[in-house]
Symmetry: C2
Subunit: 139 residues, 2 copies
């Protein structure tokens, strides 16, 4: 049974070595040798980690002579972020106070611009019209 993509991605992220590799790659594309340097670990171990990251869709790999440069692949990160979005209201104050924010945005927009009803906020579409806050017994 092939595990679903989100599970593979989270599993890949659950290892500190792999997260460190990703952090290094956030600085820019680089080779396996270069990636291996900081770790007290055999090269095959790193190679395996990279395979896991690639299979999880978190990196992609090119070919340049004898090097296989690695770089961040955005899609899986985005999926994780999307999934997390379902829970954002539990900790993100501005999400919790959506009405206030959206109301304000609406007012502003009405004052100056074409009356769109959605707008991109960190690449997530958000209704600009008022959304009622349901009474939750949390916190």
């Amino acid at each position: 049974m092939p595990p679903d993509p989100l599970s593979s991605t989270f599993a890949a992220l659950a290892d500190p070595t792999r997260r460190a590799i990703l952090a290094r790659l956030a600085l820019g594309e680089t080779s396996v040798m270069e990636l291996a340097k900081p770790f007290d670990m055999s090269l095959p171990a790193i190679s395996k980690h990279l395979k896991v990251l690639e299979h999880a869709g978190l990196i992609s790999r090119g070919r340049e002579a004898q090097w296989r440069p690695c770089r961040i692949a955005p899609a899986s990160f985005q999926q994780v972020d999307g999934w997390l979005g379902n829970f954002r209201r539990f900790w993100d104050e501005s999400f919790n106070r959506l009405d206030g924010l959206l109301e304000e945005m609406k007012a502003e927009e009405a004052a100056e611009a074409p009356p769109r009803t959605t707008r991109k906020v960190n690449n997530r579409k958000v209704r600009v019209t008022k959304e009622k806050q349901r009474g939750r017994t949390r916190g």
Copy 2:
């Protein structure tokens, strides 16, 4: 060796049953029995999953008579989101427009009186004025 919190959290999220449990809890606090219902799985299995989620800081559990109601705990979600933030520029358009944002902040500072053009959205600063897309040479 105790695994670092972020690793435990990602590991906990790497299981579809546990993510489904969290999705259910996003609808509101509930009992173990209730949580177990949708799954074709023994109760001890669910109990273990809950233990993993609790240890990962993703849920907390109370006591009410013979029930142990579970609810979402925000902190670990927030940590994951924070970690993910280091990579947001790889897929998030408004994060990619960092220069524009920083330029604007600088201008704002120079103008000393705050005609604020940024605002916090999801706890991240985001331009509210129109966004222009610069050609970035990534992917």
